[in-house]
């Protein structure tokens, strides 16, 4: 919303302060001001230029050769605008002058003729955001005079960022109420020098004026109230400069004096109005009704619409002539030929307007106001002001009677406000009189309450004499009548907000109070995330946060589709973390990074055909997962030697640490695809990436994670890239609260024995380990392979795995004999059960 500061001052002469100060006050107390634009600040060189003659340029069809009078001698000026005419005045910059943006005007030759300056458009002057030619000024200004007076300059434009609740601030009077000293009492809209005081012809559904114009509301839900006035004998033409200046400053494009008058009242008072060409209304009559299927309407913007029953229209005796509360029709539009007007001032239902605007695909200033609610009590005065402005700028004679159809304005709501509650919520020691002093300037009427229900008269004038004002005891609720323009205020707490912001948020003390700690324990998911992050950080992984939307091709089974995605590449939600993380690996490869070690903690989603999800979200699964991906050298490169590449055992080690430190999981060597699925959660999607080397994490027999080598066809790898290893597991498997238990340190030394075993292919180290642990005494406290060797001397199909066995007893030093006996038993077992023999050296 663009607000003209000159306009505010015209409405409320007491408003002072610079535009920046006004903007700061509004921003703190009412609505953010995005920017303050100074209009005309850079127009010091622009003067009124009178074109005394205009002829076609001899050598260019689209150029005009003008003789321009601008204070001194008459100058030759070449002009490219289509609308330049003789005997008219325009803004003019003589040679040597500058335009906004430090654009310097020089004397220069255009198609062989020297041009001495430039005639300007609104856009070139920095006043309008668009223009279709140079800006014609009214006659009567002295050529050579500064252009500021003619353009209503200087002015400043406050660009408001309106919040949805304060539609009243989408008008100058609404902003003036916030800023005027004394508030509403300081507002006096300037007179246009004419006065119209009609008699109202009322009708519940139908009413007619003396000269035969009738208005019928067929649908009182969609249109509860409709006012109309007839003005005959107007002369449609350009508006006077002051009016056009007002509209331009408020961001609205001047059209003609009648349309400008309706727009002026909208911008000033917040009441949308529409002027019909009375001669084009069949009947003449107005019928407010639902459109019928098959009807059509071409709107002012030239678009043709097919209508249906959901849309609300203004129709004449035969056809729709406007979308109610949204936009008028083209063939009843006010034009240069119009002499008689019907001016509409209506109340349209917010929901109906929303449906009509959406159905027509139109969003206008009028629909903005109706969707949010207008001031029903100000409709008569808005129509009067519009008719008076038409009389002032377009002439014409209004009818002595005006039409008013529909219900009475709704009674103004009366809201009880307890001073004690104000103090409780705000923590300020405010007396009832203080509260009243803050509310009254905004137009709230305050009466001391007796606790009784209000009589419902609402807008009664009883509080005017002062005796009735809110002077009751502080414990009594005050009865506050809400003005018609504040439809957002319906409850006590709404009034408390008014009190708080008028008091000024910055005037509240900032005093810490004693607090009670939260009765809500932290959700365990956060401790889980912390534990994972610490481990991953220690392992040298970097945290990724990737977008949860992925292309359908990147998702696994049963993805959750967005009903209205932003694009095909972000059309579904990820079903697992590894494939999107592999995209991140490729991104790094694309930037020459060979070493990529990433982890991510994120939510994955899937549709669950079986149902069983939480109530109302049945059919949707979501699960928080942890994923890790490794590729490249195991350590940063170092001068002392070559760095090995990461391999499957780096990944295995990571998962072992997760298992040992974070979870209660067992790690098993799995096979890709088979059974690697956590029931009741989105699939791990391993079929899309897992290669030959695979691990599965089991928690109490249930798969909670998978990992292994990434298949080469799952990635588009440059030739220099290393093998990629990835894993994904459920965050829910992490047990953050595991409490370590102290075990007494050994009191006696241990004895180590190394066994180099020749192992036939097909027997995994894991089998040997499990077997040895099965037969070993409890004195075996350590068992790990420390060397794996393959060589021709072992014979084909064999390898040597060297194990270190550590024995220790809790209560004595083991003797060599005891250890030899244990070793012998293990060796025997290996030979007899697994055909594994000790290597002869």
């Amino acid at each position: 919303m663009d607000i003209s500061v000159n306009w505010l001052r015209a409405l409320a002469p007491g408003i002072d302060g610079t535009p920046e100060e006004l903007a700061a006050r509004l921003s703190l107390q009412a609505v953010p001001v995005d920017v303050v634009e100074h209009l005309g600040a850079e127009l010091g060189d622009v003067v009124v230029g009178r074109v005394v003659s205009a002829e076609k340029h001899p050598d260019a069809d689209r150029l005009t050769l003008c003789r321009v009078e601008a204070g001194g001698e008459v100058l030759d000026v070449v002009c490219g605008a289509p609308n330049v005419e003789a005997d008219a005045s325009y803004p003019f910059v003589p040679p040597g002058g500058t335009l906004p943006g430090n654009f310097k005007i020089e004397r220069r030759k255009i198609r062989g003729i020297v041009s001495n300056g430039m005639l300007c458009s609104e856009q070139e002057l920095g006043l309008g955001r668009e223009s279709d030619g140079i800006l014609r000024l009214a006659d009567g200004y002295e050529p050579g005079a500064p252009v500021g007076e003619a353009l209503g300059l200087p002015d400043a434009r406050l660009v408001l960022d309106l919040t949805p609740n304060r539609v009243d601030l989408a008008s100058h009077i609404g902003v003036a109420r916030e800023l005027a000293p004394g508030g509403v009492a300081g507002i006096e809209p300037p007179s246009f020098g004419v006065e119209w005081k009609p008699e109202w012809v009322d009708g519940e559904h139908v009413a007619a004026t003396a000269d035969g114009v009738s208005v019928t509301i067929e649908d009182p839900v969609r249109c509860p109230r409709y006012l109309a006035a007839v003005v005959r004998g107007v002369r449609v033409g350009a508006s006077p400069d002051w009016l056009r200046a007002r509209l331009r400053a408020a961001g609205s494009r001047p059209i003609n004096n009648v349309v400008d008058a309706t727009n002026y009242v909208l911008l000033e008072l917040g009441q949308p109005l529409h002027a019909f060409d009375l001669a084009r209304l069949e009947g003449p009559e107005i019928r407010v009704r639902a459109a019928a299927a098959g009807e059509t309407l071409t709107t002012l913007d030239g678009r043709a619409h097919e209508l249906d029953e959901n849309l609300t229209v203004i129709a004449d005796a035969g056809r729709p002539v406007a979308f109610a509360g949204v936009m008028g029709g083209a063939d009843s539009e006010v034009s240069g030929a119009t002499t008689d007007l019907l001016i509409e001032c209506a109340l349209f239902d917010p929901a109906a307007t929303r449906v009509t605007a959406a159905g027509a695909g139109l969003s206008t200033d009028a629909s903005y106001h109706f969707e949010r609610g207008i001031d029903e009590h100000a409709m008569e005065s808005a129509l009067r002001r519009c008719v008076e402005l038409v009389m002032a700028v377009a002439g014409g004679t209004p009818g002595e009677v005006a039409i008013r159809v529909g219900r009475e304005p709704a009674a103004l709501p009366v809201v009880a406000l307890r001073p004690a509650r104000v103090r409780k919520v705000l923590g300020l020691e405010l007396a009832a009189a203080d509260i009243e002093g803050l509310l009254r300037p905004l137009g709230f009427e305050v009466r001391a309450g007796g606790g009784a229900e209000d009589d419902g008269r609402g807008a009664d004038r009883g509080a005017e004499d002062g005796a009735d004002r809110g002077t009751g005891r502080d414990d009594d609720a005050m009865m506050v009548t809400v003005p018609g323009w504040r439809g957002d205020v319906t409850r006590e707490v709404d009034l408390i907000e008014e009190v708080a912001r008028r008091h000024g948020y910055d005037r509240f003390p900032s005093e810490p109070r004693p607090i009670r700690p939260s009765a809500v324990p932290s959700d365990v998911t956060w401790a889980r995330r912390d534990a994972v992050r610490h481990l991953m950080e220690a392992r040298g992984l970097l945290e990724a946060r990737s977008l949860p939307m992925v292309p359908a091709a990147r998702a696994g089974a049963s993805p959750v589709k967005l009903l209205l995605p932003l694009s095909a590449t972000e059309s579904v939600l990820r079903t697992d973390l590894v494939p999107p993380l592999l995209d991140r690996v490729q991104h790094n490869w694309a930037h020459g990074q060979r070493s990529v070690r990433l982890y991510e903690i994120g939510t994955v989603f899937a549709r669950d055909a079986a149902g069983g999800g939480p109530a109302a979200r049945e059919g949707f699964l979501e699960d928080v997962r942890v994923a890790a991906v490794l590729t490249g050298p195991r350590f940063p490169e170092h001068w002392s030697g070559r760095t090995p590449e990461v391999d499957a055992w780096d990944l295995r080690g990571l998962l072992e640490e997760v298992g040992a430190r974070l979870t209660a999981t067992n790690l098993e060597v799995g096979s890709p695809g088979a059974g690697l699925h956590a029931p009741g959660t989105p699939s791990f999607g391993v079929e899309r990436w897992l290669g030959g080397e695979a691990f599965a994490m089991f928690d109490d027999g249930v798969v909670v994670g998978v990992g292994g080598s990434v298949r080469s066809d799952a990635l588009d790898a440059p030739p220099w890239a290393g093998a990629v290893f990835a894993a994904e597991f459920r965050l829910g498997a992490v047990r953050p609260a595991r409490s370590p238990e102290f075990v007494a340190l050994p009191a006696f030394p241990s004895v180590a024995r190394d066994l180099a075993l020749v192992v036939p292919d097909g027997i995994a180290a894991g089998e040997i380990e499990a077997g040895v642990r099965g037969v070993a005494p409890r004195e075996l406290v350590g068992l790990r392979p420390f060397d794996v060797y393959e060589g021709e001397d072992l014979g084909a199909g064999r390898r040597s795995v060297a194990w270190r066995l550590v024995f220790r007893a809790e209560d004595r030093t083991l003797t060599d004999r005891e250890v030899e006996k244990h070793v012998a038993k293990i060796v025997t077992y290996l030979r007899e059960e697994l055909d594994v023999r000790v290597r002869e050296s």
Binding site: A500, S510, P512, R513, W526, L547, F620, E622, P636
Partner: protein
């Protein structure tokens, strides 16, 4: 065995040990490859090697001499094993022959650095500060019902306020949460006050992915509900947070605003932490940066969630950690936060 039946004397064993040490060290150092080294190991310290032989001879020593010679034997054994390990390491080392010698100015050996995402750093810090004010951390689902996301928070589905949330719908009443505020509703329905929680989490809005918008982004929400909480306490809590997070000299500015689930509502600005309030590009010359939306919890929210609005009052606030991270670390484009570029992430270790 070489002790030939005669009672060994300590002197000769001592001499042999010293010679063994000297020979062994020379042999290990001279080993040209792993085979030669292994041969030397077998000869000197192997199970049937010279050291074993000498130690076998200790059985015949005079008991008084045994501890002395035993200690010496252990020393020799340790020295030889250390020499063996050193040589074995050197032989297993780089094949290209590069050696650092004694040039300690060469860079040291490092591990890969791991670390948290900059947005996580900001979230963690915010949670830590509010933990000092007694706030715990809550969580909730990302797929939500329209009731939790809108209705429970006082936002009618057909109200223009819903326009502020351009929503990703998944089904008729199911959506991706547009803010973390539905967790407020969940917490209030499940717990009795005093409630003090912060809720970090991912939220979704139909914003095209560009330099300053992302369709999914982190938000952190806070909620305090108890008897006797007023606007003064709310201001004090926010001021405490701001000074902790942005520095002790930082000022706050509360501006009137509108949120359907708070009343009174306020936008909170802080003095620009980049220019100190004098005006810069980050604060668009104003000296202030908007960091959160906040306010006193609207009674309609208490009613929807089954708490008595006459008895309880509270405040709520919401911030965008990604936005704060971008301002704090001067990250010009939000998309950098999602790319997982290693060169980017390594800047925040």
């Amino acid at each position: 065995m070489t002790n030939a039946g005669s009672k060994a004397d300590g002197r000769s064993l001592e001499d042999r040990l010293r010679k063994l040490q000297s020979d062994g060290l020379t042999a290990f150092a001279a080993a040209e490859d792993a085979d030669a080294l292994e041969a030397a190991r077998v000869r000197f310290t192997g199970r049937s090697g010279e050291l074993s032989d000498i130690m076998g001879g200790m059985r015949d020593l005079d008991p008084a001499e045994r501890p002395v010679i035993g200690r010496l034997a252990n020393e020799v054994k340790g020295a030889l094993e250390a020499a063996y390990d050193q040589r074995a390491g050197a032989l297993a080392g780089p094949a290209d022959g590069s050696r650092g010698g004694d040039d300690l100015s060469l860079p040291g050996r490092r591990a890969w650095p791991g670390g948290r995402h900059p947005v996580t750093l900001v979230i963690d810090e915010i949670c830590e500060i509010f933990a000092e004010l007694g706030f715990t951390r809550a969580a909730g689902p990302e797929i939500e019902t329209d009731w939790h996301n809108f209705t429970a928070l006082g936002i009618p589905l057909d109200h223009p306020a819903a326009d502020m949330h351009d929503t990703f719908w998944l089904d008729e009443h199911v959506l991706l949460r547009t803010h973390t505020s539905p967790v407020q509703a969940r917490v209030m329905m499940e717990s009795k006050p005093p409630i003090r929680v912060v809720v970090p989490g991912l939220c979704y809005r139909r914003d095209p992915f560009d330099a300053s918008h992302a369709p999914a982004f982190e938000q952190i929400e806070g909620l305090a509900v108890d008897e006797g909480i007023d606007f003064v306490e709310f201001r004090a809590a926010i001021d405490f947070f701001v000074r902790r997070f942005f520095g002790p000299g930082t000022k706050t500015r509360f501006r009137a605003s509108y949120f359907p689930f708070t009343e009174p509502s306020a936008e909170v600005d802080v003095t620009c932490f980049l220019c100190g309030g004098s005006g810069c590009a980050a604060c668009k010359g104003t000296g202030w940066i908007e960091i959160m939306g906040s306010g006193m919890v609207d009674p309609v929210v208490f009613e929807e969630c089954g708490l008595d609005p006459e008895r309880y009052t509270g405040y709520a606030f919401g911030m965008g950690p990604a936005r704060i991270a971008m301002l704090r670390y001067r990250i010009p484009d939000i998309r950098l936060l999602y790319e997982a570029d290693v060169r980017f992430l390594e800047q925040f270790l």
